[in-house]
Amino acid sequence: MTKPLRLQDGALILALLAQFAVAGLHAQDAATPTLVPVPEVDLRGVDEAVRDQIDQQRGLLEEALARGTETDADAEQLGLLFGDAGQLYLVYDLLPAARACLTNAAALQPRNFRWRYLLGSAAEHLGEFEEAVEAYDLARTLRPDDPATAIRLGRVHLELGRYEEARGHYQHALALPGSAAAAHFGLGRVAFETEDPTTALRHFQTALREQPRADSLHYHIALAHRALGDDAAMRAAMELRGDAPVAFADPIAAEIKESATGIGAQLLLGRVALAANAFETAEERFREAVRDYPESAAAKRSLAAALEGMGRRAEAAMWYQEALNLNPNDVGLLFRTGLLYNSEGRYQAAAERLRRAVEIEPSFGPGWVELARSLGETGDHLEAAEALTRALELAPDDRNLRFHRASNYRLGDRRELALREFESLLADFGFDREIVLLLGRIEQELGRPASAARRFEQLVEAGAEPPLLSQAHFELGNIRTRQERYEEALPHYQRAIAANPTLKEAYFNLGTALGRLGMFTEAALAARRALELDPGDSRARAAEVTALLLAGEDARVRLMLEQTLELPDQGGSGFFAVLLAEVLAASEDDSVRDGAMALNLARDLFQRAQTPAHGAVVALAYAETGDFEQAVAWQQRLIDNLERAGAGAALPDARERLAAYQAGRPIRAPWRR
């Protein structure tokens, strides 16, 4: 149910949010999050440009709140808007509002690292260190190896006097890119606080080696020397003291600083246009931002999003890549690019980006899912299943993920695994006709027709909807056909057709079964139905003409084949040409046979492809023209080739034909053999 929110007097009275639960969230979180009220921000006296920026962001948020959250997409959008608002408040030092917005953003998008991280930052600035620890810890579960999170966690624990915890985080940060200096500095601080100046000195000195420009470290080195009683070293270090702090890679903090500048306003205007589906205006704004701030990844990403919204995917992909060049480890960017490539069918490129995204943020569930899609599409089904396993670690109860993993197991030839996965889905989520159908098919693929039949019969007994009922009968018919129990197959195919009159395969297989029962005219009719449903289906056409030949309708067949060969791009034309040559050479109907035409056609076919089948037709045509010497020579060459190829199964028929030719006797209706 949609839950619109009314806002009092046009102001953003987000206190209403206190009772606001998001209805649409259900995919990954069993409990619907309750949002916290956002303290009202007094913007009197604030610079007009800043006020406009904040007002517009609030406007977007108000609209989204008024719309409510009927679907996951609504909730997702609301989460983004809360996050954007939180960032903006953070940039302008409106910390209580920032904290509330980021809390809501994190509740709506619990897997979004950025919101957790910024919430930690807001709490840290507010001096709410426990809350900061909680937020950073949650961020860490999403990106265990994010250097900035590790450093900040160390710092907050240090503020709290929790030295062991601080030490642990700094030690973790030691191995992470871009944070070694800060990690050593933190470890030095911890050591100094815990009265271990020797260790402190070692870490401070290492930090300085890692980051020589951080000359503020000399101060700490000096104090450590002092604590160790080395006054000379202390004074020497103090002389070198400067103000440059120890820096660490903190891309999110660096990025959001842009929000307070002109580019922030420019991008906001673009986003406003984008939200109103005014893509061209948005494109214009973002292009201005890209022009004015060529080093801004946010500008390029925004432009790409606008272009993608306009369906200009190639351009969008280019700008996403441009943004990625500036910020190669931006998980959101990698994901967006991967999505775009997937939608364009560029699965390898998509997989490459998505794999990077989940390497950076292993807890990014949508990244694993989309990666599985890319891998599945490129045929790497087992890797796809592995990706889905990672996604399932994050959302163990997600039925769809389990379903797709089972499907990938099946396609990756791990059918036993697929079977178990699908069965566990039945156990966990109850009877599901689609899964039963798949189970039956997998049993078939595993060569267990009895088990397969039981699954399909179960489906039939359960009274499936027509499409599934049709499939069940179709599969039962196939099982019986493979068992050569054609009479039992017939009613299943007929029920399959009754339940789904457009099921071409059922007509086709019905025709096969009828043919096996010698009911060639009916078989031809069934094949004709299949052909009507798909006029380009050369199999059906072949089945029809074969059935008609077996029914003795040679003249009709000749006509059909001649018409077929005149059709452009007719698939299977080689087969039909050979068959026509055979019919012309060997029909029992004198009015149909034409040796010269058959020989011309056969020789022409042989010139194009010197196959045993073509050679045999040439021999057949020579015999029909009365040139048995040539017929014998061609047939003998065919037999020699078959013997060399070890094709023993075809030899008896070939020798029989040779004998006939040697006896000056042409062959008639060989298709009946």
Binding site: D42, R44, G45, V46, D47, E48, A49, V50, V91, Y92, D93, L94, H125, L126, G127, F129, L158, E159, L160, G161, R189, F192, E193, S216, Y219, H220, A222, L223, R226, A227, M234, R235, M238, R241, P245, A260
Partner: protein, 593 residues
């Protein structure tokens, strides 16, 4: 759980009935005696909407015995109008008193009341002859001319003033004659014996080079007009004025070496022997610049040792916005530690003293003592190490008030100065491994206290009951008197280290008092020496005597000598006159000049 809830309920009920603050569930700290004591002073900062920087800085107070009747009188520093040619109608909040606004002197007429003494402050400004009408900041109360009567040195935005106590209830302006009229923006000073000659010199702390001509309009990152940060102006150098013994001063700033250090934005100062060499050192709290620790070499030279000693920057290696400073032996190891009050989103900072004689060394122990987080939101100014709960361990009081609207609330027509913040008390409790830590008192200093924009804090036993009371000054608000309720519950010992003189007894400043106890470490307290923000506190010392038996009292004077006295009578103040005690032999030979 239930018991805890019941305890809280009782506490609240008591608070309603009597109005005291409670540190925990049972402990009453202070009652607000402002009205009952007749304290009707209201500070006026003269703000006019231009956001002149001095408006937000605020003024202090002094507790001192100006009439030598044995109790503490009160001096309160007043603001004024800035600019507009004295057009008081241009002020945002109207001035309702006699024009011009002036500092006020209140005489304490302690009156017996139910076995205790009731404080009654009487405004004696008119009869005192004090006409301090400058834009006032801070005040020092000390006998600067060695006549046995405590004089006043008032720090102003503009020339400072020396008000000589004539001993008859009146004061005379001796600024010019004394050579103390520093024309710069001074906020605080320490009257202390820097050269060991037993008279009191003046270390004057100057803040910024501000004038209406150099006034700047400052903006926040949101583009709001707000009060500036000190970095908008140039720091003003400090000054050292040396007393010739008669109340005439020579400027020794350069000779003592003060000019060798980069000037700081000074707001607070205290004098104490900080490195254990029995010479008086000075610690200056600088706003957003490294603090200064001036170590006394005993030859007239002061050496700035803040960075080297670790007392200039916090543990992050950063200079903080220091406003107030206090010194006290919080951990009972015998040396004075330092506590600095700071801007919001900085913690207040505790520097533990790890010095060896002649070698100052301090360590930031803020986080380890749990003092960080509780002060994060506050902009703290006045502060003092005070045994708030009379348990023998020095607690901390800090009074707070923002200096920018960004750190307070947006200003409106109805709320033009919304910088008020609650004041705080931090109780010294046992920590891990025998260490100490601090717990914020749940109710702050006073339960239900209306927050103001607090600035000055002067600590002293105003009602002579053996505990330490507080006078709080509020910027553009009323001064408050908080009376401590813990001292009368047990025995206590009070001492007043004084210097004998032909013309009377003079309160010492910057001396160290050690109260030796049987089977327990001595209680170490500092007498005088200034500290806090722009304020001056009680030069006497009081300690609880209900615990281990007090054997003797030792005083380390500013000339480096020490004397001892037997334990005095409890529940009264005893003057310890220099020269009347027993010299501590082990220190005679190597006493510095």
């Amino acid at each position: 759980m239930r018991a805890r809830a019941a305890g809280i309920a009782v506490s609240l009920a008591s608070a309603v009935l009597s109005g005291p603050a409670r540190a925990g569930e049972n402990e009453v700290l202070f009652t607000d005696a402002t009205r009952s004591a007749g304290l009707d002073f209201r500070h006026w900062n003269g703000m006019s909407g231009h956001l002149y920087y001095p408006e937000v800085v605020g003024a202090g107070a002094a507790l001192f015995d100006y009439d030598n009747d044995g109790d503490l009188d009160l001096y309160l520093v007043q603001g004024n109008l800035l600019g507009n040619e004295g057009d008081r109608t241009s002020a945002t909040t109207p001035w309702t008193g006699d024009w011009p606004p002036r500092d006020r002197l209140y005489r304490n007429d302690l009156e017996p009341s139910d076995g205790d003494a009731a404080v009654r402050f009487v405004d004696v400004t008119e009869e005192s002859g004090i006409a301090a009408t400058g834009y006032g900041m801070g005040v020092v109360a000390a006998d600067l001319d060695n006549d046995g009567w405590v004089d006043l040195y008032v720090l102003n935005l503009g020339a400072n003033q020396f008000w000589r106590n004539e001993g008859d209830g009146t004061f005379s302006d001796r600024t010019e004659a004394s050579g103390t009229g520093d024309p710069r923006w001074s906020v605080a000073a320490a009257a202390a014996d820097y050269d060991g000659d037993l008279d009191l010199d003046l270390f004057v702390v100057n803040y910024l080079n501000f004038s209406l001509a150099t006034h700047k309009t400052c903006l926040t990152e949101r583009g709001e007009v707000d009060y500036c940060l000190p970095s908008a102006y140039q720091p003003a150098p400090d000054a050292l004025l040396v007393n010739d013994g008669s109340g005439r001063f020579e400027d020794a700033t350069v000779a003592a070496g003060l000019a060798a250090a980069r000037p700081g934005n000074g707001l607070g100062i205290l004098a104490a022997d900080l490195d254990g060499d029995r010479r008086l050192d000075f610690y200056v709290a600088n706003d957003l610049m490294p603090n200064h620790l001036w170590l006394n070499r005993g030859n007239g030279e002061l050496v700035e040792d803040g960075l080297i000693s670790g007392a200039a920057l916090n543990a992050d290696g950063e200079a903080e916005a220091s406003m107030g400073v206090a010194a006290g032996d919080y951990d009972g190891d015998g040396d004075p530690d330092l506590f600095l009050t700071h801007f919001h989103r900085e913690t207040n900072t505790l520097y533990r003293n790890d010095s060896q004689p002649g070698s100052a060394q301090f360590r930031d122990r803020t986080n380890a003592t749990d003092l960080g987080r509780p002060s994060w939101d506050a902009t703290a100014f006045g502060t003092a190490f005070v045994d708030l709960d009379n348990d023998g361990w020095l607690d901390l009081a800090a009074v707070n008030g923002a200096v920018t609207f960004a750190a307070g609330r947006p200003r409106t027509k109805d709320d033009p100065f919304p910088l008020d913040q609650p004041n705080q008390a931090f109780l010294n409790v046992a920590g891990d491994a025998g260490g100490r830590r601090f717990e914020p008192a749940a109710a702050g200093l006073l339960d239900g206290e209306t927050p103001f924009v607090s600035r000055g804090l002067a600590a002293g036993d105003v009602d002579n009951d053996g505990d330490t009371d507080l006078v709080i000054t509020n910027n553009n608000g009323p001064a408050r008197l908080l009376l401590n309720q813990t001292g009368t519950e047990g025995d206590w010992i009070g001492v007043a280290p004084v210097l004998g003189a032909a013309r009377g007894r003079r309160p010492a400043s910057g001396v160290t008092v050690r109260v030796h106890r049987a089977g327990a470490p001595p209680l170490v307290r500092l007498a005088g020496g200034g500290g806090s923000y722009a304020s001056w506190g009680d030069p006497r010392v009081t300690v609880p005597a209900g615990g281990p038996k007090v054997d003797r009292i030792e005083v380390q004077w500013t000339d480096g000598t020490t004397e001892e006295w037997p334990a005095p009578q409890p529940r009264a103040y005893t003057s310890l006159v220099r020269g009347s005690g027993e010299r501590s032999g082990e220190q005679e030979d190597d006493a510095p000049p």
